[in-house]
Symmetry: C2
Subunit: 256 residues, 2 copies
């Protein structure tokens, strides 16, 4: 596999791979903004799976490029899908129409529970309602004013959240894609001067049940306080799920 | 695929399959306690995946039988693994040593968040701690005495919980297998006369983050109030994950 992006997430994924903590996966290449087009093509050709951990603009470029090469791509900057009415439009068939386009995978990122929420959504979406509260420090959200208490700075659909806060809405987009879709999942962004760790609260109500989840993540110091350390591990979990043919989070027992 | 068990879970899985709500899966046979050994062998041979939705005793019999036939099995009565020091011991190689034994999958069942908890556990287990609180009505737990307030009726490892409450500990076992193992996950069972819906609370603390999740499930009336309706959908989600080669809960976009 190849990793695009040498920031907090990409660096942590590369480190986990190099330390052998993602069984069965090995790193072909780490790509970055200085990589040449030839280097990129060679790395994609030599990989089964490419991990994108950069920006929505780079994701917009790489999703068609990787899928057209017939390779799967894990998209961390999944806010890119908010720009497209149908997220699948970014998947590109091979140029000579030979072979099958690669698939796109979206990791849970800084949150979890996509397993139960996807199952409940499959049972029925009509009466289901999902709200995702992201509670961050004003600095992490780019809020300049001096706050003494928490303040709601955004409320809207996951699509609008991703367009407004492209760097901080990836978990909202993953949750929405796994459940009710980008236009039917509600996102609330709260700036709170008291928080030291980013907090995500997910509320889901449907006839099947009521689920409330709170995720308080330690921040990766390499990210300038913007990225949760769990995010890179959610990518590792997805890589292992792809290797096992099931997962992430599915318990797989094989005769050892 | 074949489904063993015609109770609340098996029946709901069969219904979802028959209604075409599990894309790509079709039902070969529904097996039950009256099925003959020949019928069982034929159904296993004709299936890719067998769903066990019966009792721990039946799971003990079927896991080796299905895996020895080289077929995968989804085990709902996963409390059976508490009886074995190494859960993998139940997986049996084909008798003539031809081919590969099937794999065992455990669905999340009545809870969720196995995605984020598995990822956090893969990052490190040493300082991680998992507690699973199951809050049920006294009747559902077989507690006879008249309670006026909630009472803790068990606190111990997931292994001991499954041995003591084999019918009501499957979610505990799934959580433990996905994270810290049967002997290192703590389970607390609470009888509460006020609850009308079963409630599960999962708390996980590790250097990566603090995760608190509450799952309040509607009960499947076909189960006599013992089984959550979400459980059958977690099996469906796992079947779709196996078909997609990734999941449950992973967002997979394929060119449509």
């Amino acid at each position: 596999m190849a990793v695009i992006g040498a920031g907090a997430i990409g660096g942590a994924v590369i480190e986990a791979l190099e330390k052998g903590r993602v069984p069965g996966a090995s790193l072909i290449a780490g790509l970055h903004s200085g990589s040449t087009s030839n280097e990129i093509d060679s790395a994609i050709a030599a990989s089964d799976v490419v991990v994108e951990a950069t920006t929505v603009d780079a994701a917009e470029e790489f999703i068609p490029r990787v899928t057209a090469a017939g390779k799967d791509i894990i998209v961390c900057s999944c806010g890119v899908f908010a720009r497209h009415e149908n997220p699948r439009d970014l998947i590109s068939a091979p140029h000579d129409d030979s072979g099958t386009p690669g698939r796109v995978f979206v990791p849970a990122g800084a949150v979890g529970g996509l397993d139960v929420l996807a199952a409940a959504s499959r049972a029925g979406k009509t009466d289901a309602r999902l709200s995702h509260f992201t509670i961050k420090s004003p600095a992490a959200l780019g809020v300049d004013e001096e706050l003494t208490e928490s303040r709601e700075v955004f409320r809207g659909s996951a699509r609008d959240a991703a367009l407004r806060f492209p760097r901080t809405s990836n978990a909202s987009v993953a949750l929405a894609l796994a459940t009710l879709g980008l236009d039917h999942a509600e996102v609330v962004v709260v700036a709170d001067p008291r928080v030291t760790r980013t907090r995500h609260v997910v509320e889901f109500r449907s006839p099947l049940g009521t689920y409330e989840m709170s995720f308080e993540n330690s921040l990766d110091p390499a990210s300038g306080g913007r990225t949760s350390a769990i995010t890179a591990w959610s990518v590792a979990e997805l890589l292992i799920g792809i290797r096992d043919g099931v997962g992430p989070g599915a318990v797989v027992l094989e005769r050892g």
